[in-house]
């Protein structure tokens, strides 16, 4: 593209003939529509990519310092693996075109359009495959990030990454195809706009199965009491939450899957505004509730509350009014404040609150779709159960197999000394003395 770079100043100096390096304009409004929707996927895609950093910071901030480097490693690795697996099989498994509606046997790596695609050969009424692949890819990575948070501080690196390989390459794409791939659930009328269930609950179910098989961290539950293990860096956790909030505009807005008409871009605007309102409501509700229940607000609950609000609105960020979105998000905030301690009562050790935020709020958001009339409650419940059973059962089996074959939990001594020194041989904050 070298020479093109020559133009601007060339122009500036009116020193050169232009023709040579001229860009072509769009040939028609059809092409403009295609360009706009593709752009939506690219911008939406990089925003959702940014969520990978959000999960990494949130989780790094909520684990104890002796496990921070490992949590960062897991997040870098899982995103990279998700990208490779989704290319290798995931994308075509999930969007197979015609298939039986349950499982597509379409194990081929993704191939993009040729360079300099001719507009005649393009899907002018949609967008480029490259942009769509880029956008979709980011969603599967989010699913895997959810799991890493819940199982932090005790799971071994490699078994976890093997689980990620299967989750991102096989499990998520197959169940995703049921709805977004045009499978049986979509025909049944299930509705999940941007993935409260398909992305977030699925991650939550996999995390729940893992937490059950793995068991709680040493000392987390002592003679009936829950022993808090405060996160080592709440500034990072807050940064992570802001990053996720930002990325969510791409997550939900991009899921409009069209930006070429007045109606579509106006819908995207509506989605942005609704998404923001739900998050705001979730955080304020968590702030007030913790103040009332515990006499002091809990920052980590406020962070979880904002995220729960976001997950809640994700199943239907378009149809509700701003007021409706506030309501939906607020319920998400209530959910975390109630279910975080509840999980502890059940001795399910979820380090970052991933299960309340992604699984439970995800279920709520999916049910809430029925209220906005975009789907029947029956279809929604069916979908929730389908994804729950499929993901939870397969995950459970997979975790048990991994446990049997190679063990999924580090030794007691390693856990006590921290995964950073034990599994990585390095610390995240080597110079700062730990308490």
């Amino acid at each position: 593209m070298t020479l093109k770079r020559l133009i601007p100043t060339a122009v500036l100096l009116a020193a050169l003939p232009m023709g040579a390096w001229a860009n072509d304009p769009p040939g028609s409004l059809e092409e403009v529509g295609y360009i706009m929707t593709t752009l939506l996927f690219l911008v939406g895609g990089f925003l959702v990519f940014w969520m990978a950093a959000g999960f990494a910071m949130l989780e790094a901030g909520l684990v104890r310092s002796k496990n921070v480097a490992m949590q960062l490693t897991k997040n870098m690795a899982l995103f990279s693996i998700a990208a490779l697996m989704y290319w290798l099989v995931g994308f075509n498994l999930m969007y197979p075109g015609e298939f039986n509606g349950y499982i597509a046997f379409n194990f081929v790596p993704t191939v993009l359009e040729p360079v300099g695609l001719d507009s005649a050969a393009a899907t002018l009424d949609y967008a480029s495959v490259g942009s769509d692949f880029f956008f979709q890819l980011m969603f599967v990575a989010a699913t895997a990030s959810i799991v890493s948070g819940a199982l932090a501080e005790r799971i071994k690196l490699w078994p976890f990454l093997i689980f990620v390989v299967v989750l991102t390459g096989i499990m998520y794409p197959i169940s995703g195809s049921w709805q977004w791939g045009g499978g049986w659930l979509s025909k049944l009328g299930f509705s999940d706009f941007a993935g409260s269930t398909i992305v977030h609950s699925v991650g939550g179910w996999a995390a729940l199965a893992g937490a059950l098989v793995l068991g709680p961290r040493i000392g987390k539950y002592k003679d009936g009491r829950t022993v808090p293990m405060p996160g080592s860096n709440l500034a990072l956790a807050t940064l992570g939450t802001f990053i996720l909030w930002l990325g969510w505009f791409g997550f939900n807005g991009g899921s409009q899957l069209a930006m070429g008409t007045v109606g579509d871009i106006t819908d995207v605007s509506r989605i942005f505004a609704n998404t923001n309102m739900a998050a705001a409501a979730g955080s304020v509700v968590a702030l007030i509730l913790t103040q009332i229940l515990y006499k002091k607000p809990d920052l980590t609950m406020v962070l979880n509350g904002a995220l729960a609000g976001l997950v809640s609105i994700t199943a239907e960020p378009l149809a509700p009014s701003l007021a409706g979105s506030i309501l939906i998000g607020a319920v998400g905030g209530v959910i975390v404040v109630i279910t975080v301690p509840l999980l502890d009562k059940l001795k399910i050790d979820d380090v970052v609150g991933a299960i309340p935020v992604h699984l439970i709020a995800g279920i709520w958001g999916t049910i809430a779709v029925a209220f906005s009339g975009s789907a029947t409650i029956g279809a929604q419940i069916t979908g929730i159960l389908a994804y729950g059973v499929f993901t939870f059962v397969i995950s459970l089996v997979l975790w048990f197999v991994l446990k049997a074959v190679m063990g999924i939990r580090v030794s007691e001594e390693d856990e006590i000394n921290g995964l950073d020194m034990a599994e990585l041989g390095m610390e995240a904050y080597p110079e700062f003395s730990k308490g």
Binding site: R225, T226, V227, P230, K296, D298, T300, V337, V340, P341
Partner: protein, 114 residues
């Protein structure tokens, strides 16, 4: 021997006052460590993500100063006076005997080392 080690644990925000008072009393140096204190002051409970826990340790500052035995009495008084708030958790002072003191830079020993 005629040199004493005075160990005092005080409330962190009192450090500067104490340091100044000691300096004006002729103390030329000290060692300061951030520690966690456990005592009568400790033990109130807080809630984190819905789970109660007892805050057993409170941040404290530990001052270690070595002085000629002759000064020890006075130094203890000065610390007591300047670290005192009257509220629980003000801290303690302990005095120990030092059998030898050396200044690394010069090798001087005992009182000359201070």
């Amino acid at each position: 021997m005629n040199v004493k080690l005075i160990i005092a644990t005080i409330k962190p925000f009192k450090l500067d006052e104490v340091r100044q008072a000691l300096t004006s009393a002729g103390v030329t140096g000290m060692m300061v460590t951030e520690i966690k204190g456990f005592g009568a002051q400790s033990g109130h409970t807080e809630i984190y993500r819905g789970a109660e826990y007892a805050v057993n340790f409170v941040p404290k500052i530990k001052i270690e100063v070595v002085v000629p035995a002759s000064m020890a009495e006075q130094i203890v008084e000065i610390i007591t006076k300047n670290a005192q708030t009257g509220k629980i958790g003000d801290g303690k002072i302990f005095v120990l005997d030092v059998s030898q003191a050396v200044r690394v830079r010069t090798g001087e020993t005992n009182e000359d080392a201070l």
